[in-house]
C-alpha cells in the first residue's frame, strides 16, 4: 500500500447540524427534507466536504476558515466554461 494520504474510504459529513432538537424529530416520522438554510445576514451553514487540493485529497470544513473572508463558489460541473 502507498502512503495513506487519500481518505478514500472516509466519507465527509456534508451539512453539519449544530442543534437537532430530539422532540422535533419525534414529531416528524417522515424523513426530514433538507431545505435552504443560507440567508444573507445569517451565519453560513457549516459543512464538511471531501476536496482535492494541492495534489491530494482532504476533508474541508467551512468553520475551519473562521477569521477569514471566504467566498464559497458553486458551479455546475468540471469541464464546463461559462
Amino acid at each position: 500500500m502507498g502512503k495513506p494520504v487519500d481518505g478514500c474510504v472516509t466519507p465527509a459529513q456534508g451539512p453539519i447540524q449544530t442543534s437537532e432538537p430530539a422532540a422535533e424529530m419525534m414529531q416528524q416520522p417522515v424523513k426530514a427534507v433538507a431545505r435552504m438554510r443560507a440567508r444573507v445576514g445569517q451565519e453560513a451553514p457549516d459543512f464538511e466536504a471531501s476536496a482535492y487540493y494541492q495534489g491530494g485529497f482532504k476533508n474541508i470544513k467551512l468553520s475551519d476558515y473562521r477569521g477569514k473572508w471566504v467566498v464559497l463558489c458553486f458551479y455546475p460541473g468540471d469541464f464546463t466554461f461559462v
Binding site: 453560513a44 476536496a51 463558489c73 458553486f74 469541464f79
Partner: protein, 147 residues
C-alpha cells in the same frame, strides 16, 4: 472557475479564501486540474475544490438543481465571523463577473473596517456615506447616482 482563478492575485491581496464546490467527485476534480486547468492557467486552479456529491451542501445553500443533479452557479461572501454578507445565484447558461465579486468584497471589507456604508456603484476610493440622523434627507449633498 477559470475566470475566478484568473483573478487569484486580486483575491489573495484581499485575503479572500476561495472554496469551489461542484457535484463532481474529488477524483474528477483531480483529472480536470491535471488534464485541463493546468494547461489553461499557470499552476492550475489554486484553491481547494470541494465535492458535493448528492447535492446536500448545495441544497442547504439553495443552489442544488435536482433535475440535473448539479449545483447552480452561485457565490456566497462569508465574513470573518462566519456570516453570509452577500449571495448571487445564476442558472448555468450565464457566467459570472468576477470583478463584481471583488468589488463587493472590497465594499464589505471597507464597511467592516470603518462603519461607513457604500452607495450604489461604489468603487474603492469613491465617496462613502456615514449613516446617522444628520444624513437623513441630505444624501444629495454628498452623493448623486453615478458619482
Amino acid at each position: 472557475m477559470a475566470a475566478v482563478a484568473a483573478q487569484a492575485d486580486s483575491l489573495n491581496k484581499l485575503g479572500v479564501q476561495i472554496l469551489s464546490v461542484s457535484t463532481d467527485s474529488r477524483f474528477t476534480h483531480k483529472i480536470w486540474q491535471e488534464e485541463e486547468l493546468t494547461k489553461m492557467l499557470p499552476g492550475g486552479f489554486p484553491y481547494p475544490m470541494l465535492s458535493d456529491q448528492g447535492g446536500r451542501i448545495g441544497t442547504i445553500y439553495g443552489v442544488y438543481e435536482e433535475a440535473a443533479g448539479v449545483d447552480f452557479r452561485g457565490w456566497f461572501i462569508i465574513d470573518p465571523d462566519g456570516k453570509i454578507q452577500a449571495m448571487e445565484i445564476l442558472t448555468p447558461e450565464v457566467g459570472r463577473e468576477v470583478k463584481e465579486l471583488i468589488r463587493q468584497v472590497q465594499a464589505y471589507q471597507h464597511v467592516r473596517a470603518t462603519g461607513e456604508v457604500t452607495p450604489a456603484g461604489w468603487m474603492p476610493g469613491k465617496t462613502t456615506l456615514k449613516p446617522g440622523p444628520a444624513l437623513v434627507g441630505k444624501v444629495w449633498e454628498v452623493w448623486k447616482p453615478g458619482a
